[in-house]
Structures are given as C-alpha cells and as structure tokens.
Amino acid sequence: MKTAEEMTLELQLVFDQLRDGSIKPKEAAELTNCVGKMIGLAKVQLEYHALRKESPRMNFFDTSPPSQ
C-alpha cells in the first residue's frame, strides 16, 4: 500500500471479506483503525502545507487507473 487509492482498494477488500465471513470483525476493526490513523496523518500533512500556503505534490494522493 503506497497511495490512498491502493488503501481504498485494500479497505474494500476487507469490507468484502467481512461480509463473506472470511475475516473476523475484530481483525477488520484493527485494519480499519490503522487506515484511520493513516488518514489522520495525511490530514496533518495537508493542514501543515495549507497553513504554509504550499501545494507540494504528495505521492500518497496520486491517482492512476488500476492496471488490468
């Protein structure tokens, strides 16, 4: 997982697995919690740059079509 998009896909996978029952709710909660932390970090970075009136290119927010 390197970008926000990849994390989204990963989270969707967890969501599907939770629905199937192939993953326990507790395990899913831990993974989701980790994603929450990453979102928090990304927010802090964004806020830092917004306050400094900067707009650097951040790899984490890169969007590219998924490879087939």
Partner: protein, 141 residues
C-alpha cells in the same frame, strides 16, 4: 449523406435494441454490474471530473438565469439553513446516510484549518471506504 454519418446513424439504437439490452441486463445482472464496476475503476478520475464540471456548469446556469451573484447565493443558503434547522438536520442526516462527497469532506475538515477544496479526491474516497467499513463493523455483534 456523408459515409461516416451514414455509418453512425446505422448504430442508432432502436426501441427493439434497447429492449433486448434491458432484457440481457436483467438476465445477466452480475456480469452487467461487474462490467460497470470495471469501467468505473478504470475511468474513475475522468468520470468524477466530468460529473463535477457538469454540476458546476448547471449551478452557474441556474444562477445566471436568475442573475444572482454566487456569493449572495451562498449567504442566502446559509440564512435559509439558520431559519430552517429541522430541514437542515434532515439534509445532514440524508448526507450522512449516503456518505455524500460534501459530508465526507466535512468530516475531514472538522477541527482543522482545512477547506473543502484542500482535500484531494483520493483522500475522500479513502475516508468514505473507512466510514463504510466502520459502520459495517459496528453493525456486527
């Protein structure tokens, strides 16, 4: 008639074709949804940009027709929201249920100095997936 135009006109879908397509979709629901999902995944950025541009153009068109300044309109909307707290709450409730773009952005901007425009689309998608996952975990016993 031009050859190209003639060729294109041959591809116009008739009522019969549309009915056949709908019938196929009804019979192969999963395949249809899978194809739609794949198309959306490949063209997500372009689709979102197109939708945003279309929405903005539509909003501008409405304001131009009524000869209203967008800033005045924003103030008017805020006044309406203050005057109708119940309707505003219903709007918010609906947005929370549907995880709308605006709602997800507002959750990201809460208790920060960030504005909605500062949040990239990829982070919005991630936050939406995160909120959906949280909800599904909460629903579980």
């Amino acid at each position: 008639m031009d050859d190209a135009v003639q060729t294109l006109s041959n591809f116009k879908t008739s009522e019969k074709d549309r009915a056949r397509t709908q019938q196929w979709i009804a019979q192969n629901r999963e395949r249809h949804l899978e194809a739609k999902r794949r198309y959306y995944a490949i063209n997500r950025t372009q689709i979102l940009e197109k939708q945003k541009a279309h929405y903005a153009a539509h909003q501008r068109e409405i304001l131009d027709r009524q000869k209203i300044d967008p800033a005045v309109n924003r103030a008017r909307v805020r006044d309406w929201q203050r005057a109708n707290p119940k309707k505003r709450n219903a709007q918010f409730k609906r947005a929370r249920e549907r995880l709308t773009d605006n709602y997800v952005r507002s959750t990201l901007c809460a208790r920060t100095e960030l504005r909605h425009k500062d949040i990239p689309d990829s982070l919005v998608s991630l936050q939406r997936a995160y909120l959906a996952a949280l909800r599904s975990i909460k629903d579980r016993p």
